[in-house]
């Protein structure tokens, strides 16, 4: 502390240590006080299965499912929460294939919501990503469960995730539309 530069050096190094402690306290406090979410509803309309091709080179003709859906959920307590920077929500369909017994989990649609865009999330959208089955056909799949997950990204801290909305029951996959 004997000269000006030395005092500046010492105090700024102390200050950076304490800023890290402050940010650590903020991240712990926000992680321990996350609000709980009322699980909302996802309505599936217009689910059809038809023959198509993926949008990539060398893709074969196979059965693709496409759907439109409507989400009603209130994500404001999460968005308004202490340390939230943005939410990442994504809609997944999870189903079991009867012939092989494998369970599949596909993401159909996702979206980033920033903290400044606070409003009731009511999206009417169609699937962003094409839904295909690895075995090329949907005839061994009876029904699928749709859930809307969210992933909360804080300003400083740990990522956390959960379920924001579910469809009211399993959704039956219809027959292939023959042209």
């Amino acid at each position: 502390m004997y000269s000006t530069l030395q005092r500046l050096n010492h105090i700024s190094s102390l200050a950076t240590t304490y800023v890290m402690i402050l940010l650590g306290l903020i991240s712990i406090a926000s992680f321990l006080s996350l609000p709980s979410v009322d699980v909302g509803k996802v309505e599936i309309k217009d689910l059809i299965v038809q023959k198509g091709r993926l949008r990539r080179w060398g893709a074969r003709q196979e059965e693709l499912a496409s759907l439109k859906f409507d989400i009603r959920t209130d994500l404001n307590p999460l968005l308004n929460s202490y340390n939230t920077k943005q939410l990442f929500i994504y809609l997944t369909a999870s189903y079991e294939e009867q012939s092989t017994g494998h369970t599949h989990d596909v993401v159909l649609w996702d979206r980033i919501i920033q903290r400044a865009e606070i409003r009731d999330i009511r999206a009417e959208a169609k699937n962003k990503y094409q839904w295909r089955n690895p075995s090329g056909t949907f005839k061994n799949v009876e029904y699928a469960n749709m859930t809307l997950h969210y992933s909360l990204m804080p300003y400083v801290g740990i990522l956390s995730s959960g379920v924001a909305a579910t469809a009211q029951g399993p959704v039956t996959i219809p027959e292939l539309i023959k042209r």
């Binding site: 502390m1 000269s3 200050a15 903020i26």
Partner: protein, 90 residues
């Protein structure tokens, strides 16, 4: 720094007396601890991370203004140097 006039050199070097140095050391530690606690509590209860960081920055600027430049109140007990002695000639 050598080429500057001595009065400017003195300000840039900024010597303060040893008692003030000890006091500043203790004071800056306690001040920063209390500042951290205050800014965390205020950011938690106002539910805004930015507010806590702004409070911390404001407190830090106050501390820097009060401690870094060599103010006169930090130089009240200057170190006494003995007068210059000539070595006896051999």
């Amino acid at each position: 720094m050598i080429n500057l006039p001595p009065s400017v050199q003195k300000v840039l070097e900024g010597r303060i007396d040893p008692k003030s140095q000890h006091l500043l050391e203790q004071f800056s530690q306690t001040f920063l601890i209390i500042l951290t606690i205050i800014s965390f509590i205020s950011s938690y209860f106002s539910s805004s991370v930015i507010l806590g960081l702004e409070l911390f920055l404001g407190g830090l600027v106050i501390l820097l203004l009060a401690a870094v430049p060599p103010w006169p109140y930090l130089n009240r007990y200057p170190r006494k140097f003995l007068p210059v002695r000539k070595l006896h000639q051999t």
